[in-house]
Symmetry: C2
Subunit: 409 residues, 2 copies
């Protein structure tokens, strides 16, 4: 099955909004084994939208539109689609009831405009909107499926996951499942080299991605049941893990910090962080995972030398002797914050994030445990300020992950 994704919205063409809906729909369709060959964006303009629809119905089996379902007069996706496919709009009483219910529950006054959203192309299946008022819908005509999703990303994403994907899956009679293997500490090209022959398979498929120091591999299988999918995937996931070895930090986890938190909770251990150039990023990331308070004891942001003295008792003499960006200072930060907060592990990060200075990108990351302390020296001069900080935090979580799983750091 081939698909085209058609986004409707002048704000996308003005550049004030990013087309994340196209990404979300693409990812979901790819996981279903549907090939997406085109994305198109048009403004709130019926003529150009019609032109796109005629082209799409000649080259795609599935057209997914995003946007233009709202209550204002700019929102003309349903009308334009109905006309292009020779259908009338009808007033859907069930959709209207849902819209009235939403306004009631949110204590807001309903206007006549809002009821426009209950008009749908004849013969549509409704796709409920769990995060808003505009219902989506789909219909089939001449072998083409046309599905309409709302534009706001949180409405689009949830409708996609809860209604469109299950509908497509049921229609295909197939079950599709995937696992994500996540890695840190390997380059994209090296990973691809080690896994190249596995990527030629058709079922399961093996697809690599990379993002800022992290590498990911998605293993996807199609079969008639979840169990059969698992039987197809398990040996492949094992083979990927076997080949990649220690750099694999988790399967089906969202991030390094989530994995570290899992490991800490499993072992009943705790962590604390002393951050200089990352300015609070390590704390912010670990506390972005629900449940962090069980394992994250807290931290100090010691961006200045004065703060390193006041909060951690690191003497100015010591800093002067070693330099504020040094392995010695990183170690001391990690050890002191560990003690201060009675944690099992302490992280210390000091570095030059730039943009100015001779040593921009030089960062020391230390991990202290009872009686041990490790330090990594990073040279990230090729990155900008934001990336230097991101990679420094990645590195701290990776050191903790390796320590917690008994690997060399």
């Amino acid at each position: 099955m081939n698909a085209e994704i058609l986004a409707v919205g002048t704000e996308l063409l003005l550049g004030t909004t990013t087309n994340t809906d196209a990404r979300d729909v693409s990812l979901a369709l790819s996981e279903l084994g549907i090939n997406v060959y085109w994305h198109t964006v048009v403004g709130d303009n019926p003529a150009r939208l019609t032109e796109c629809l005629y082209r799409a119905k000649n080259r795609a089996d599935l057209i997914v539109t995003t946007g233009g379902l709202g209550p204002t007069c700019d929102d003309l996706t349903k009308q334009t689609i109905a006309r292009a496919f020779g259908r009338e709009l009808y007033f859907d009483e069930a959709a209207a009831e849902t819209i009235r219910g939403w306004f009631g529950a949110h204590g807001r006054t309903i206007t006549e405009n809002n009821m426009r959203q209950a008009w749908l192309p004849e013969g549509s299946t409704i796709l409920p909107n769990d995060n808003g008022t505009a219902p989506g819908c789909l219909f089939e005509t001449d072998g083409v499926i046309v599905a309409m999703l709302p534009g706001p990303p949180r409405e689009c994403r949830v409708m996609l996951r809860n209604y469109l994907v299950p509908w497509l899956r049921e229609r295909s009679g197939e079950t599709i499942c995937s696992h994500m293997v996540r890695m840190y500490g390997v380059g994209e090209s090296q990973m691809e080299e080690q896994l190249r022959d596995l990527m030629d398979g058709a079922n399961p498929t093996v697809a690599p991605y990379a993002k800022l120091g992290e590498c990911l591999v998605r293993v996807t299988a199609k079969a008639s049941s979840r169990e059969e999918c698992e039987l197809l995937m398990t040996p492949m996931v094992e083979e990927v893990c076997r080949r990649m070895g220690e750099v694999v930090y988790g399967i089906d986890v969202d991030s390094l910090e989530e994995r570290v938190l899992q490991l800490l909770l499993e072992k009943g251990m705790t962590i604390a962080a002393a951050e200089s150039c990352t300015g609070g990023l390590v704390g912010q990331r670990i506390t972005s995972v629900p449940g962090a308070s069980q394992a994250f004891k807290g931290g100090v942001v010691v961006y200045t030398e004065e703060a390193k003295g006041r909060l951690l008792g690191i003497e100015q003499k010591f800093i002067d002797r070693h330099g504020v960006v040094s392995a010695a200072v990183a170690r001391k930060m990690a050890k002191r914050v560990r003690k201060l907060l009675h944690a099992d592990l302490g992280v210390g990060i000091t570095g030059w994030a730039g943009p100015d200075g001779d040593d921009v990108g030089l960062v020391f990351v230390a991990l202290a445990a009872r009686g041990e302390c490790y330090v990594r020296r990073l040279q990230l001069g090729r990155f900008d300020r934001e990336r230097i900080r991101t990679v420094a935090a990645h590195s701290a979580f990776d050191m903790a992950r390796r320590w917690l799983t008994g690997l060399d750091i």
Copy 2:
């Protein structure tokens, strides 16, 4: 002038990458007064790319492509464009020299593949790549301008800003300038209502945007010189500021935290933060602005009650009496961190970020100065964890901004 933006890259169709380039190019072209009517995305497929190019040249005066300029065999934008427009590729010795220089400077070995990037369509103007090796280029043919930019966002953005936009501006013989007025503490619809009549003007134009609690207005003028643009813009910027009043926090600044840092530096004052539910976000945001060490004294991340005791000396009895999420605890956090780090201002944030619990979204944000302490109670139950934390940090910066400019908090 009408433009079409054509992104080339299978990763966009798979949904593993978001098309931020289209947004960046759209925004830049809109500011130049160029209308963008279409975005299209195709994979690394010469036949489909050619189809798009033929269509684009019939409906656009300017075609901007992004992606497909790299050294691998997937990268076929330049070859396909040359063929579609009946041009040969030639080996550009100056581009080759730049590529060799880049590899030399980064201490990396050059391969034959990399030199493929020096082949350009005949008659091209080179667009230098300040952040990578693949040069961009542009040519004009039959009244259509075709510009090729690289795919990686940081390469695309910088080439756009440094080379394509100046080229387009010079060609049009016009100068286009804009100012951005930024606001916090007003809703989008209220802002639009107060400024609606101003949005009808043609020169300068007034365009509003909104993002998560913040509102922005861009005022853009076209004229034959920068000075004339300023003459057109100044009264409009003043009128926007007059109508919106105290919620305006800055003009041409990037963020609330940047504005707070500016104000602190102007007044020679300092700030420190004690963060519970935001987990380090306030520190991370203020230290994302270069130069923060002059005014940000540091902070503590006191995510647990234990940490509030150990780092700030807040007694368990006090927490039990008031509740850990309370105005009293927020105040104490702000006052204690201010003292601890000898800062002029102290921020304290405590709240329930969820996802579980009865009071999800309840946050107290306190600001302590000498002899005074203010607290805001936020009820953000309609937001998810990430948004609750973002708005809590916004609120802290806004309180500091208001205090520093003598406004009521």
